[in-house]
Amino acid sequence: MNSYENAIEISGITKKYDGFTLDNVSFNVLKGSIMGFIGQNGAGKSTTIRSLLGITKINSGEIKLLGLDHLKDETQIKKRIAVVFDELPFHDIFTAKDMSKIFSGIYPQWNDAQYKKYLERFELPLKKKIGDFSKGMKMKLQIACALSHGAELIIMDEPTSGLDPVVRDEILRIFMEYLEDGERSILMSSHITSDLEKIADCVTFIDHGRILLSGYKDELLETHGVLKCSKEQLSEIDPSDVVSTRVNSFGAEVMVSDRASASYKYSGMLLEPTTLEEIMLFYVNRDKKEWA
């Protein structure tokens, strides 16, 4: 087994479609960390993930997973990673027991005892057809399969979308437990920013095929803030400090990317901490002078 610092290294990925381009996407996922990959619908999250997994061909760029080239060492990599998609990709006629038979043949490190433990924990029946499972059960099954062969890297494309808060919370706790040994990593794309705020160590924000922000989650939340002021006070704010401005009938909210500096410069205004969701909203609207 090779040693590596970054579970995922993406450098300059470009992928062109009619009407959309993944443009020079670069970021790394540190070993032992959870990277939240956020963006609107259609921002390029799934395209990036499919490029990582070799499902989609890229026009240019380099991708390394677990320190290995994603195409040259494809089979070796895929024995050590797991994937979770937003929809269950298993046929409805199979049961959880059938999936164990299938995956035990596919993954050399398949751990059936571990799989059955997850099924018990998730309260999933062994012999019931997957077609009769609820959406939450299907996602839990997919996750149970992903966690049962000692994968060093789990790549997930919107695994919690469409799930209720109770199920989402349960799943997120399991991911955190899975990473306790410090040797495993997760890349999780989502537009449910509250989930990522709970568990992500780092966050990468993509918009219209471009990476806008990438860094430690806590650092991003520390450095960004929202200034609340009246519309008349807007003219006092230096445009270079502004990410974007949201106006409403009560006043204006201005996102700043340097909270420490803003707290000195605009001491007369209310400066509040922000959330990932707000960061996403304000950055998505950064090209507009003001938005509602």
């Binding site: 070799g54 499902i55 061909k57 269950l88 990709p89 046929h91 006629i93 059938d98 043949g105 596919i106």
Partner: protein, 255 residues
């Protein structure tokens, strides 16, 4: 790994095969009933019964051959549920997937060949005619033809990126096949001597109740032994070619 994938293929196809088997059993029952009525009511001469029993045997061969060789349940299911895309993220090579697919196909073809043999035994007994391998040869020839069609269809359908485009391509391929079959039939009956003979006999069969005509017809469509053996060898060649083409298709990534 191969066992796991074969298990997967067979489990997905089982429902489709069982449905086809039910259809074959229903058709067999009807045809046996017809044969029984002919015999018990003394409705035809021995030759008519023999001719009819041979036609029954050929019909089973074609139906069973057609059903199993043209089954694409797995491809459609994989596209519908997203397995095809998901499998690209698994440690499965194109060789692994193609190998499992064609081993499964070979097993099913062999099992259906045995089924054709078994169904034909009572047909020949009731028809009081000596057992002939001709229906088996016909089964093999028909499977060969459909395997070639399957290669073409799979190559086209593998270019689908979702269920919608899969259905669209499926209709196009099906329509093209119908046109080719009609064109071949027209060419066969108007150009070749054998084709013209068969067409003449079919007209006679429609207008005259003659056991001789029936036997003439069955003799025209009886596959000689040497052709049957060639078809069997060809089947292995086609299966290998199918494996190579399918492997190539599995190597493709989404654009």
């Amino acid at each position: 790994m191969t066992k796991a994938l074969i298990f997967r293929e067979l489990k997905i196809s089982t429902k489709s095969y069982l449905a086809s088997l039910l259809l074959i059993v229903a058709m067999s029952a009807m045809m046996f009933l017809a044969l029984y009525v002919m015999i018990s009511k003394d409705l035809g001469s021995g030759e008519t019964v023999r001719g009819f029993s041979l036609i029954m045997a050929y019909t089973f061969a074609i139906i069973i051959g057609g059903t199993i060789a043209s089954d694409d349940t797995v491809l459609k299911s994989d596209m519908a549920c997203g397995w095809h895309r998901y499998s690209l993220a698994l440690p499965l090579t194109a060789h692994d997937k193609a190998k499992a697919k064609y081993i499964t196909k070979a097993i099913v073809i062999a099992v259906c060949g045995v089924l054709v043999t078994l169904i034909c035994i009572p047909v020949f007994i009731i028809g009081k005619t000596s057992y002939s391998l001709a229906p088996i040869y016909l089964y093999i020839c028909f499977v060969d033809f459909l395997l070639v069609y399957d290669i073409i269809r799979q190559s086209v359908l593998m270019r689908a990126t979702d269920l919608k485009s899969l259905k669209k391509l499926g209709i196009i391929v099906g329509a093209v096949l119908v046109v080719i079959v009609i064109a071949l039939e027209y060419a066969f009956t108007s150009v070749s001597e054998l084709g013209r003979k068969i067409e003449k006999v079919m007209t006679e069969v429609e207008t005259a109740d003659s056991p001789t005509v029936l036997n003439k017809y069955t003799s025209y469509i009886t596959i000689p032994a040497h052709v049957g053996v060639i078809a069997l060898v060809l089947m292995f060649v086609i299966l290998f070619a199918s494996y190579l083409i399918t492997r190539k298709n599995y190597e493709r990534r989404e654009d």
